[in-house]
Symmetry: C2
Subunit: 356 residues, 2 copies
């Protein structure tokens, strides 16, 4: 018996790895000290300020991958992965530095793997993030031949004095929601169960409510909020400068807190940034919920509590700012044609979300 | 339908996450700026030297996990994952800083997940590496209920002037092999196919050649070489200091190159550190091959070429040093009771491994 008889084709893996190396190289910048291929990826940090902290996050795409398998479309899940990770560190005010990916499949199909990695590399480039490493694991008998899992790790940086963590949030602050592009990467177990298993819908079906195929709606990639957050980080806080503080990000900028709406939905993510004694009131109906969510709720008779604790409901990111800075923030968002709504307020109360 | 009906139990996940946070906290040091639980993990780097480069790597455990599933033993795969990643950056002379893990399962069993993460945290502690983040994904219908995949990402640092990359290797240099603890994390697809599927062996069977159960032999954790590499990095090179260079690691230390023997086995890993014009001659028979490898070779009639390109064959790590430094290196290895053998030499030739 040879190794290839056991389901592992090292030569096919080598071909895919050569192509992956080309894709990764396009994301490189002068900080990348070596090409992908050594045992580790090298990254220079000598131009970071002295008080820089590294901020990192790891994530996967979850069962959204099942939609990609069914549609045999593998070039969008890379953007899901990278954008999710970028958002996870952007909420702390962190700038992306580098990314590493993990792709595990039953049988390595070079065209599938390079499709996945080209999506990763493209999303990395869009965020000036270098793809400096990755693992492509062939695990026969572990994953079905046509399936794979996908995870990734991002490392970025923020000046320690400019970390955004919600600690400055006080009652009276304003809650802004930025639009999501759909389910992003959360709630797919429930969505698939309701739409595909229970209602028996076909991914190719065009749903009138959606105006496109169900598959297209479900596969819409996770939106990256880093460009808009970056622009807002440059903004001087009127509220704080009148009290003589330095302008800039973190405690002195217009962004007091940012919550990425991921697993746990609108209900469980905002508390992660709320200080003791602060409750977030979210006014249902203050933004247009995209049609995919009511479709899931009605076809599956899903209680509203579960919808709100599972899905982003059309809000991909929550920003907390002061009343005094609201106009300035709104101006930047409008200038960048960002879809946003004032969806609530911070009030006195236990750390949590209250719907009104 | 509620979210828990779709196979995702957020409350069970929350319980597991609380326990994971406790486990992670034990790995923390003053560089960790926040507790696990925010969207990203924070790590201070202000005490690193100005010329520090970050070195990072991502990896999984591969189909070795199938052995853990079969034995329902989940506290060793964490060490496999961490030690593999630590070795991947240690070969470049890098000191571990922090680690993030990804655990994806069909149905999240808190006791299984905390078993996995306690293994990860323990191995992190042993390497003074902080576990600052992780993702625990419940993916019903994607993984069987009792199965999971496991991947992780490590970030470490090395002074740019002390990066070990094999570039100083020249013909005449000596090749030393450090003992592995077994298959480590590579070759399990072939091993399982031969031992379990083809030969029909039971994991509980005690094989006389092995002196223990097959399961114990196959589940032996990946050995971490960082402590011994760290000790060798302190060693002054006699060869280089006589030419007036600075003592220390990298190009001035006794370690000219290090190859972690992972996927691709003894044949495909050493070329990753060989400069043009250098061939590595490895003398078969110069070290005792652990019995698990001949058992696989004979039961599966696996050609020697495939054995050497798949498995580490008892050599977990390869060190390249000069003849002049060999005694000093050997003294440190012996003092630390490290099992090692001089297994070959660097000769003139194309980049590759030649067996003699």
């Amino acid at each position: 018996m040879r190794y290839s008889d056991a389901g592992v084709d090292i030569d096919a893996a080598d071909r895919a790895k050569r192509r992956i190396r080309q894709l990764a190289r396009r994301t490189f910048n002068p900080r990348v000290l070596r090409e992908v291929g050594a045992f580790g990826g090298f990254f220079a940090i000598d131009d970071l300020p002295r008080d820089a902290a590294l901020v990192s996050s790891v994530d996967g795409v979850g069962t959204k991958l099942k939609i990609a398998f069914a549609l045999n479309r593998h070039n969008t899940v890379g953007a899901d992965l990278v954008n999710h990770c970028v958002n996870d560190i952007a909420v702390h005010g962190a700038t992306p530095l580098f990314f590493l990916d993990y792709v595990a499949s039953g049988r390595l199909k070079p065209e599938v793997v390079t499709g996945i990695v080209s999506g990763i590399a493209e999303a990395c480039r869009a965020n000036a993030c270098a793809l400096i490493g990755g693992e492509t694991a062939e695990m026969p008998g572990f994953y079905p031949d046509d399936e794979y899992d996908l995870a990734g790790c991002i490392v970025g940086w923020v000046s320690r004095s400019r970390i955004i963590d919600g600690s400055g949030i006080v009652p009276g602050d304003v809650v802004i929601g930025l639009a999501s592009a759909g389910l992003h990467t959360n709630g797919y177990s429930l969505a698939r169960r309701v739409l595909l298993d229970q209602a028996g819908l076909n991914l190719d079906a065009v749903l009138p409510e959606l105006g496109r195929t169900l598959g297209d709606a479900l596969l819409a990639p996770h939106r990256c909020c880093w460009p808009i957050i970056k622009a807002l980080l440059e903004l001087k806080s009127g509220a704080t400068t009148t009290r003589g503080r330095r302008a800039g990000a973190g405690k002195n900028g217009v962004l007091k807190g940012l919550a990425h709406i991921t697993g746990g939905g609108l209900t469980d993510n905002p508390p992660r940034i709320l200080p003791t004694g602060c409750k977030m009131q979210i006014e249902l109906g203050s933004w247009p919920v995209p049609p995919i969510f009511p479709v899931i709720a009605s076809l599956g008779s899903v209680p509203q509590d579960d919808m709100l604790r599972t899905f982003n409901m059309g809000i991909g990111m929550i920003l907390v700012t002061t009343e005094a800075d609201l106009d300035a923030v709104a101006r930047v968002l409008r200038k960048r044609r960002e879809a946003f709504w004032q969806i609530g307020r911070i009030v006195r109360g236990g750390r949590g979300v209250e719907y009104t």
